[in-house]
Symmetry: C2
Subunit: 237 residues, 2 copies
């Protein structure tokens, strides 16, 4: 039970809803087998994700004009193919591997938890993934959203306040009636600054089994839940 007056939930996607690392490892291993590549795909996934922030920084700092995440991922992928010494992939194979981000697997509780929450609330993505990427992830995974909200609609990347404001404006709701759901404190902090309510869902496996998370002060969030089913229970959904 919560005393918050919530009408809509907006979900971060990468790491919060889907497990990017294990999906990239799995598809990488398949590609490696087919093309006879010797690559540590866990390390490859970590490096690809490590390029994420810096690649968006180029847009944030106006070094690049607005660029979809698909295209930032592809630029990072070219760099990684070089760094890991991977050769022999065709353009189509590179393009297809770049689209692994459209096929990410959900955390085990995601599909059911979001379906439960959707019975009672508007559920939406609010991700730096570009619009088509988010549509395709949902379709691949079988998640039903009431709408797709993407940083692409604001032409800037989270944690820019304009992304959260765009979401509230499109939903025609005051920010205080929207709950931002994320595994990343920085995302929640930026949402809270605009007036959103916040729910922290720790995903300790996001960066793999050996990764040690920084300590998180859970008292800073309106809600903390172990997963989406727990969140649904707390929100009476």
């Amino acid at each position: 039970m919560t005393t918050l007056n919530i009408r809509a939930l907006t979900f971060d996607i990468f790491g919060t809803v889907v497990d990017w690392r294990s999906t990239i490892m799995e598809e990488g291993a398949r590609l490696g087998k087919r093309k006879n590549l010797q690559v540590d795909w866990g390390l490859f996934a970590d490096h690809w994700r490590a390029e994420y922030g810096p690649s968006m920084d180029r847009v944030r700092q106006n070094e690049l004009g607005w660029t979809k995440l698909d295209d930032l991922h592809k630029q990072s992928l070219y760099k990684l193919l070089h760094d890991f010494g991977i050769i022999g992939l065709s353009d189509d194979e590179i393009e297809d591997f770049n689209k692994v981000w459209h096929r990410l697997h959900p955390w085990p509780d995601a599909v059911q938890g979001i379906a439960r929450l959707r019975e009672r609330y508007i559920v939406a993505t609010l991700s730096n993934g570009n619009f088509a990427m988010l549509v395709n992830i949902a379709k691949t995974v079988g998640i039903v959203w009431d709408c797709i909200l993407s940083a692409e609609l604001a032409h800037c990347y989270k944690p820019d306040a304009r992304v959260y404001r765009m979401a509230a404006d499109l939903l025609s709701l005051p920010p205080s009636q929207i709950l931002m759901v994320a595994a990343h404190p920085s995302d929640l902090k930026a949402a809270a600054r605009v007036g959103f309510r916040t729910a922290y869902i720790p995903r300790p496996q996001e960066h793999g089994p050996d990764h040690k998370e920084d300590a998180v002060d859970r008292g800073k969030f309106d809600m903390v839940a172990a997963d989406f089913n727990d969140l649904a229970a707390q929100l009476d959904a």
Copy 2:
């Protein structure tokens, strides 16, 4: 069977997916009974809809800045309350009646037909309704869209080419892989001008049983279907 290479379908909503006239008549009659009003609600619905084009023209001609359809509807509603001599409604009652556009009933084939099409294609709205209105219609009706696309995202109204271009850009698809589905030739013509494929779905009951439609040259469209189930059959969905 069609030889078109379609990946996504974008649907006009008012008149194509939902039956605005009968819903307004029904809710109007209920309101009238409660407030003891003598109103021809069919005529009221027709007048409200007749204000639609002129109200958007004020935005198209920059007489008004960008204004959500909810707010245009409300301005039209005030005019109609005056014209029909309706008094005694509270602000909350007026606000709630304005939201009838969020609760429109679907045509009988809509929910099933769209569900069938969604098995094989991306299905999206592409309407002048504002974003939250489209989310709420879908939720009320039980239609599942892969994403909500609204003129609001382009800050201009159909048939402005920018609305269709925005849709193709967000879906990351060439216009030739998108099928615009509408009951209105003008909408299809504008979509075709941007490169979309077109499917005409006649909805002869849109303006009520006594309305006589202008003759439509069906040869101008890529597809013509009797309803969404027929469209699904023609598209092998």
